[in-house]
């Protein structure tokens, strides 16, 4: 599989969402790393330099926007494609995320893991 070995960092605090997404992505052959808050997510990102980041917005310690801001400043992390998976999807938030380098924005209640997977594939194959 050409997805083999590709590393996805999932930064998400909701345990059930982690379980479901991980299951879906692992089944596709991706290697999934999980961080449960923004701070942990940034550390893990620097450490592992993943191929893609799936990022939640509302999280304990640093939220999604803070993560994106720091990522953008870090030249090693800057280029890593990032998809937001969030509970809400206000135009103003979307614009801000886009400006910070997010490739896509998925609202959890409007997408399911299958569609998330499709978006992931679109970014990193």
């Amino acid at each position: 599989m050409k997805t083999m070995g590709k590393k996805i960092l999932l930064i998400e605090d909701e345990e059930i969402m982690i379980d479901l997404l991980r299951k879906k992505l692992v089944a596709e052959g991706y290697k999934v790393l999980v961080a449960r808050n923004g701070e942990e997510g940034l550390e893990l990102m620097k450490e592992s330099l993943p191929d893609l980041v799936l990022l939640d917005i509302i999280m304990p310690k640093k939220d999604g926007f803070e993560v994106m801001e720091e990522k953008k400043k870090d030249k090693n992390l800057k280029k890593i494609p990032l998809i937001i998976i969030s509970n809400s999807g206000q135009a103003i938030e979307l614009d801000r995320a886009k400006a910070l380098g997010a490739r896509d924005w998925l609202v959890k209640t409007e997408f399911d893991p299958k569609e998330v997977l499709e978006k992931v594939k679109k970014q990193i194959g």
């Binding site: 909701e14 059930i16 969402m17 479901l20 997404l21 299951k23 879906k24 089944a27 509970n87 809400s88 206000q90 135009a91 103003i92 959890k108 209640t109 399911d112 893991p113 299958k114």
Partner: protein, 529 residues
């Protein structure tokens, strides 16, 4: 001597005759006089009267002579006083006295008295001249009565005047009291009040208005609204009122979370007389706070609900996709039903969130110049399966020429058209027809959607655009619906500067319309949503 004696006798004879002649003359003369005269001796006994006296008193000469004068002229003591003063002062004295006639009639008279003395100053009697003053007295009494009456009238007038003055005073006091009461009402009113006169100049500002606007009435008095000092409170108010004092009704001015005022102007008229304008400032801070708290609560709950709903959605989808293992057809059927319920819940929560955003003024619009036709086409395409499933026929007509392009937030316009189309599908029984059309009125694009559905009961039509409204007839149909779609749609349309309305007859169907103005610059319509 004899001859002399004879001459003397003749002389005295002649003298006597002359004297008798004189007496006769005097008697005749006095009887001819209209003035009643009598003579009394010192003991005040009548010794002579004239004809006029007889006429006046009814006594004849024989009856009168020898009578004490006091039996005819009364009262006795006043008569005596009169007689003695006439004697003492040796002149004619007069007094009003009364005569009692023979027939016992009292006659008012004036009695003039002259005392008679011999050459040695001995009293020999009195002359009394008596004038009947009945007529004079009557006239006088009449006059007196008249004067009395007039006086009484005057007195009555005076009393009446006094009463009137008292009434006026009381009325003035009452008016004063009323004025005080009115002033107290105005002063203690919980609403702020600014009153303008006919020239639109401030002439009254109550303490609440002073407090609300942080100005003193002294500073405002006599000034026009546009001339008022523009502090941070006064500024927004004068800005609102500068656009015209008419038609300001419940306009809200927000001074942060601490104060929100609802401004209403009212023309003051009393019996068709223009008195000026009244500006009422009603404090709705508390209501706004409660509203905000409520909206925040709904917003927060809806957000909180979305997380588990997303988890359920994902779980269901993975179950159905076989990601968690094979499922039996029976399990699949139940899970699919669960999925539907969950999607409905998500839809409801999303609607609620949209409503809270509208209420919080956070419903952002990203207008771009677009063709409403393609928006409508997109929505119709997305509903094709549902139309087929229900066996409904849909007709979409639009002008052959390109429609004028409008500045719209495409996402939000889709929501509007989708809500209207979904409603039409939901409430039209199988086999029914839905007609959608777009019309270019040059200044605006008009959208129309007509269905042959259940319609809206007439008695409920006034509430159609209210939040959570659902027709009584559709609740019975067991169709799903939050009652928020139309509310949201109307708000979106209005935020674009358009209008939304409908016509409906229960059992025949409903037709909904909305318009979007054709404008090149979005600033012209974009409200701070």
């Amino acid at each position: 001597m004899d001859k002399n004696k004879k001459i003397l006798n003749e002389e005295s004879q002649r003298l006597k005759e002359d004297l008798e002649d004189l007496e006769k003359y005097i008697r005749e003369f006095s009887s001819f006089l209209p003035l009643a005269v009598c003579m009394i001796n010192p003991p005040k006994i009548i010794i002579d009267i004239n004809k006029a006296f007889e006429n006046l008193t009814g006594y004849d000469l024989l009856g009168a002579i020898g009578q004490p004068i006091k039996t005819i002229v009364i009262p006795e003591n006043e008569l005596n006083t009169l007689l003695s003063s006439a004697r003492k002062e040796r002149q004619v004295k007069s007094e009003e006295l009364t005569i009692i006639s023979k027939k016992n009639k009292k006659i008012p008279v004036t009695v003039s008295v002259s005392a008679r003395e011999d050459d040695k100053n001995n009293l020999i009697g009195y002359f009394l001249a008596i004038t009947d003053i009945t007529e004079i007295k009557k006239a006088r009494e009449g006059l007196e009565k008249k004067v009395e009456k007039r006086t009484e009238e005057l007195e009555n007038s005076r009393k009446a005047l006094m009463n009137i003055l008292e009434d006026v005073e009381e009325a003035r006091k009452t008016a004063e009291d009323e004025k005080d009461k009115a002033s107290a009402v105005v002063a203690n009113l919980s609403d702020g009040l600014i009153v303008l006169d006919k020239e639109k100049k401030v002439f009254l500002v109550n303490p609440r208005a002073e407090e609300f606007l942080s100005v003193t009435s002294k500073k405002m008095f006599g000034k026009k609204i546009s001339e008022l000092e523009e502090n941070e409170r006064m500024g927004p108010l004068s800005k609102l009122l500068k656009e015209g004092l008419e038609n300001v009704f419940r306009k809200e001015i927000n001074f942060g979370v601490t104060l929100t005022l609802e401004v209403t102007t009212e023309r003051m008229k009393i019996r068709e007389k223009e008195l000026g304008e009244m500006i009422v400032l009603h404090d709705i801070t508390r209501e706004k706070t409660i509203e905000r708290m409520k909206t925040e609560f709904v917003s927060l709950s809806a957000h909180q609900l979305r997380t588990p709903l997303a988890a359920i959605k994902w779980t269901i989808q993975m179950l159905l996709d076989g990601d968690i293992g094979e499922i039996t057809p029976e399990q699949r059927e139940i899970i699919e039903k669960t999925q539907k319920s969950n999607e409905r819940m998500i839809g409801l929560i999303n609607d609620l969130l949209d409503v809270t955003r509208i209420e919080e003024g956070r419903y952002l619009y990203k207008p771009i110049l677009s063709d409403l036709g393609s928006v409508v086409r997109f929505v119709i395409n997305s509903q094709e399966d549902e139309l087929k499933r229900k066996g409904l026929k849909l007709e979409f007509s639009k002008p052959r020429d390109n429609l004028s392009r409008v500045m719209v937030d495409v996402e939000k316009m889709r929501v509007v058209v989708q809500n209207l189309l979904e409603n039409a599908i939901k409430y039209t029984p199988s086999g029914g027809k839905i007609k959608v059309s777009l019309k270019d009125n040059k200044t605006e694009i008009e959208f129309k959607i007509e269905d042959s559905g259940v319609g809206i009961p007439e008695d409920q039509q006034g509430r159609v655009f209210a939040k959570f409204f659902r027709g009584a007839n559709v609740i019975r149909m067991e169709t799903e619906g939050s009652g928020l779609g139309i509310f949201i749609s109307k708000n979106i349309v209005e935020a674009h500067g358009g209008k939304m309305w409908f016509e409906s007859k229960e059992g025949k169907g409903a037709t909904f319309y909305f318009t979007i103005p054709v404008k090149k610059e979005f600033e012209e319509f974009l409200k701070e949503f």
